[in-house]
């Protein structure tokens, strides 16, 4: 076979076909085959490695194996948050044949709005096409059956067994625990902690779930499965085991938490109970609450709308985010400041229902008569504190308030803590570019005006005062529960005053705490006499904070929203306490009401301590300051101190 024939075929007499033409065809064929060989060379020799990678990606699918999230326990190992087995449905984008046909079918079978499926597809636009994207979690048996029955028509659907979060019912401890949900686009883009997360990853979205997400979530594994073009699994290559998340033991005491939840039932507001020796939070309640289970599995639009439009802000953890005037609970700070500055010891004010300062009459709720520092606290006499505030001046007041951690983050290990406000001359200058008016100081003296605090700040400040000035960083997780590097990173990421000691003369904090013990003891004018706990050295301070000015109040129809907020901060025992409780009952109409709520929690705590101690030590309320140093106030032997005082007849709510 030669490429060019030298002959010219003699066909018939006049029929000739130039040999060159057939040779030309031969050359053309050779050229064509050479082009094809070159194409093969380019793909199979030069580009083989690249195509092999693509071939693997085509047929090998990494199926995520989600790590079971760590469980959450209370301080005694009782479970608060558990996991349960669940089935989730995933979508393989590259397997969708005809979105206009498939999506409506999927929507009806999985009971999802088609818009939601489209939104999910849009959200995962940038993700690798061969990786499954989460479509619906915790699908029902019917939905599972739908996926199985439509395996041929909808090869893009697949189900994975997973572990889901199971939270306590009825929003129990919801704000403190938080909830989990898919990492948001905003978190992925703006928060470096989520730099290595991918869309669709489930993360803690609030509470300790968010703070301790890195410990709780563990490390997801994966299975490399071999699939055919229909996405059907035809074999597997290997797997990377998931590392379960770390279990977390909280400082919460389930019994105390239960008592707090019960006390706050049906009310709006917040309650926090803390061990001031350590900063361990024993209970934390915010009302109204929400159901975290709704967030971690199938947040419905109606539930989300309900939460968003609720004027009482169910998602807000009011123990650390409500920034409100503390009312008369602020008088504790005022008392310490007055005593430390030697201005309160000899102050004796005649209260005839108020006093005039700078040409303006400031009212007191009652005519208390002669009031000194000893009865000013149980009476909660405004006239006394107006006078004291006037003497101290705003900057001195601010100095003490700040020393006890008001107006700054406590550093609690929860996201989005609010700082509150402690006004001063500098503060007025910085924020309002004006000077501070002396008349404003008078209102601040009784915890009104510009001063705002959070319940946790007040609990911590009270614990600090009662413990002789030693204040700890409030926290929900025992430090030994976390790796050291995590603990130090955590401390850095939650700025606050942390551990600190405020030097207070023992005689002064003795005076203040004795005064607070009077608040809950029977007696005329004692503002929380009705909250007296028989046999428990329960002390505290009420606060009734106006939410609307007197003048404005006179003009309104006096609806629920104008009812004052009811505060109470209490502790047991009165000095060097084992528990401090702060209660904010929004529109609760008087601190005495909140005192009753706090007393339930303190009662539950003390009763439990007694039961545990089994050798109840009955002790007189110490008249002298405890002997241990303020630097080390934690004395286990003083875990519970109980008075022998019998309950007196409940006194009516006194004026504050």
């Amino acid at each position: 076979m030669s490429l060019s024939s030298p002959t010219t075929r003699q066909l018939n007499n006049d029929e000739k076909l130039p040999a060159a033409k057939l040779a030309g065809v031969q050359y053309a064929i050779v050229l064509l085959l050479a082009v094809l060989v070159a194409g093969l060379w380019r793909l199979q020799v030069l580009g083989a490695d690249n195509w092999k990678v693509l071939a693997e990606a085509n047929r090998v699918r990494k199926v995520p194996v989600l790590a079971p999230r760590g469980k959450i326990f209370d301080r005694e190992g009782r479970i608060l948050v558990d996991n349960y087995p669940s089935v989730s449905c995933y979508l393989l984008v590259e397997q969708i044949k005809d979105p206009s046909v498939d999506l409506p079918l999927i929507a009806s079978g999985l009971h999802l709005p088609i818009e939601q499926i489209q939104a999910t597809l849009k959200r995962f636009q940038g993700a690798a096409k061969y990786q499954p994207i989460p479509l619906k979690q915790d699908i029902s048996q019917d939905e599972q059956a739908f996926v199985e029955a439509h395996r041929n028509e909808l090869p893009e659907l697949e189900t994975h067994d997973e572990q889901r979060r199971l939270y306590p019912k009825d929003g129990f401890a919801a704000h403190m625990i938080g909830y989990v949900g898919e990492v948001s686009e905003q978190m992925l883009q703006n928060d470096e902690r989520y730099a290595f997360y991918s869309p669709g990853d489930v993360v803690g979205r609030s509470g300790v779930e968010q703070t301790y997400d890195a410990l709780l979530r563990g490390k997801d594994g994966s299975r490399d499965i071999i699939v055919n073009s229909h996405g059907k699994e035809v074999g597997h290559l290997g797997q990377e085991l998931a590392v379960p998340g770390q279990d977390l033991k909280l400082t919460i005491d389930l019994d105390v938490q239960r008592a707090a939840e019960k006390a706050m039932d049906g009310k709006n507001g917040a309650m926090v109970a803390m061990d001031p020796h350590t900063g361990e939070i024993l209970a934390m309640v915010s009302r109204p609450s929400f159901d975290p289970n709704q967030f971690s599995v199938r947040l419905t639009k109606s539930y989300w709308n309900e939460i968003l439009t609720n004027p009482d802000h169910p998602l807000m953890n009011k123990t650390i985010q409500a920034q409100l005037a503390p009312g008369s609970t602020f008088k504790i700070i005022m008392s310490v400041a007055g005593l430390q500055e030697q201005m309160a010891q000899d102050l004796n004010v005649g209260c005839s229902g108020g006093a005039t300062f700078y040409g303006h009459f400031f009212a007191c709720d009652l005519h208390h008569g002669h009031v000194d520092i000893h009865n000013a606290i149980p009476y909660s006499c405004d006239t006394f504190y107006y006078t004291l505030a006037n003497r101290l001046g705003i900057d001195k007041i601010a100095q003490y308030a700040s020393a006890f951690g008001l107006g700054q983050h406590t550093g609690v290990d929860l996201p989005d803590e609010a700082s509150g406000t402690v006004p001063s001359t500098q503060w007025a200058l910085k924020n309002y570019h004006r000077k501070w008016y002396a008349g404003e100081t008078i209102s601040v003296g009784i915890g009104q005006g510009a001063v705002t605090v959070t319940p946790l700040q007040m609990a911590r400040a009270l614990g600090g005062i009662a413990s002789g000035g030693v204040m700890h960083r409030p926290h929900l997780v025992f430090p030994e529960e976390m790796p050291k590097d995590f603990a130090s990173a955590l401390e850095a990421s939650f700025p606050g005053s942390g551990e600190k000691t405020v030097p207070i003369d023992p005689a002064n904090w003795q005076t203040v705490t004795d005064g607070m013990a009077e608040v809950t003891s029977p007696g005329a004018f004692h503002t929380a006499a009705a909250s007296h706990l028989d046999g428990i050295d329960f002390a505290g301070k009420t606060g009734t904070a106006q939410v609307i000015g007197h003048d404005a109040l006179a003009k309104t129809n006096k609806g629920h929203d104008t009812v004052p907020n009811a505060w109470f901060v209490g502790m047991a025992p009165r000095r060097n306490p084992d528990i401090v409780v702060a209660v904010l009952w929004e529109h609760g109409n008087g601190g005495f009401n909140s005192a009753k709520l706090a007393s339930q929690v303190v009662n539950a705590f003390v009763t439990k301590q007694r039961r545990l101690a089994n050798n109840l030590r009955i002790a007189e309320v110490p008249k002298e300051a405890p002997k241990q140093s303020p630097e080390n106030p934690a004395d286990p032997s003083k875990a519970v101190a109980v008075t022998e005082t019998k309950a007196d007849a409940a006194a009516g709510p006194g004026a504050e």
């Binding site: 076979m1 490429l3 029929e15 000739k16 693997e56 969708i96 044949k97």
Partner: protein
């Protein structure tokens, strides 16, 4: 007239190459369908091949001059059959390509028109032998091809319609078209195609998408670009030595579309690599050269023209099919001769070979 020799004059070497390629076809179809629902197509292919061989021997017995004699009538019947397809044909997957006969037999006239056109054009250009083609001659040849071609396009069956063109081009080339005429025709053709493309009268949108997707398969990886992309992955990942028979992950995983028909070369490339593909191309080269040699030794011009017409169709199918598999050409659904599964393709090829044998056996001038 030429004298019938005997089967000793059969081109056994050509038959050897063809048999080798047929064997490769059966083995590759067997491998490509091993784990799919098309399992067992290798047996059917063997059946087609056996029928093809019988037809080839049968075809070699009828003097090809008889075929030339009846070409005109056959052409008329073919055109009528194509019209009949459009009127009474069976519709399947949106295309009307078959005429259904009692007993469930489906007949696809467009496939056989190829052979009729080859003989018809050979007859036509034989008549023109010894002189340069006039424009009138060229237009007549064009008309002869365009009538069935437009009817097939109407079905629509772009792939088959396009296979008529190389017969015309080969005929014009060998028949004596002048350079100037060829130049004008090429420019004119480009203009017509350009206008038809832009006005959308010639091709349906999905046909256009298929024709352009090979340039950017990633633009629509799930749609028109899917086949090209999967084909490239299969071919490329085969590397130099291939993944081995039955071990082509893209082929066996059903990623490669129809790996036993249009994309069988991709399956072969994946499982047997560059070396295997080179072997197949070498076989094609040998077959084509052998065919051209038979054309050179044909006893008369029509014999040469018929064989070269067959060569044109085979080369065109090889170029378009392998070019498609390698991402150099659009996806047109043209089978690879002797390798792709399918009765029509196999029977056409063996009937063609029968004519080639026929011409070879009668190569000695009286």
């Amino acid at each position: 007239m030429t004298r019938f020799s005997s089967f000793r004059d059969f081109d056994w070497i050509l038959l050897g190459f063809v048999s080798l390629l047929s064997l490769v076809s059966v083995l590759e179809i067997r491998s490509a369908t091993a784990q799919t629902k098309f399992h067992g197509f290798d047996h059917k292919q063997i059946g087609f091949l056996l029928i093809g061989v019988v037809l080839m021997f049968f075809m070699s017995l009828i003097d090809y001059h008889r075929l030339i004699d009846i070409a005109r009538s056959a052409y008329m019947i073919s055109v009528a059959a194509l019209v009949a397809v459009l009127v009474i044909g069976t519709k399947h997957l949106g295309a009307r390509r078959w005429i259904k006969f009692p007993g469930g037999v489906h007949f696809q006239p467009s496939e056989w028109v190829k052979l009729v056109l080859i003989v018809m054009l050979a007859r036509y250009f034989w008549g023109m032998a010894g002189r340069e083609l006039s424009w009138r001659d060229v237009w007549k040849a064009f008309a002869l091809v365009c009538v069935p071609m437009l009817l097939v396009l109407k079905q629509p069956d772009l792939g088959t319609a396009l296979t008529y063109l190389p017969v015309l081009i080969m005929g014009l080339f060998l028949g004596g078209i002048r350079f100037k005429q060829a130049g004008i025709l090429i420019v004119g053709l480009l203009l017509v195609v350009g206008v038809a493309w832009n006005t959308g009268k010639l091709l349906k949108p999905y046909q256009k998408a298929r024709l352009t997707s090979f340039m950017n398969p990633d633009d629509d990886p799930k749609g028109s670009g899917y086949q090209i992309r999967q084909s490239l992955i299969a071919v490329g990942s085969g590397g130099v030595w291939g993944k081995g028979a039955n071990h082509g992950t893209q082929t066996q995983g059903d990623f490669l579309p129809i790996p036993y028909t249009d994309f069988i070369f991709a399956a072969l490339c994946e499982e047997h690599g560059f070396i295997g593909a080179l072997g197949v191309l070498l076989l094609y080269f040998l077959i084509l050269m052998r065919l051209i040699q038979n054309a050179q030794t044909a006893s008369d011009l029509p014999g040469t023209l018929i064989i070269m017409g067959i060569v044109a169709v085979i080369v065109f199918q090889i170029a378009v099919n392998i070019g498609m598999v390698l991402g150099l050409m659009p996806v047109t659904g043209i089978p690879l001769p002797l390798l792709s599964y399918g009765g029509s393709s196999i029977l056409f090829t063996f009937l063609s070979l029968g004519i080639v044998m026929n011409i070879r056996m009668r190569r000695f001038v009286n």
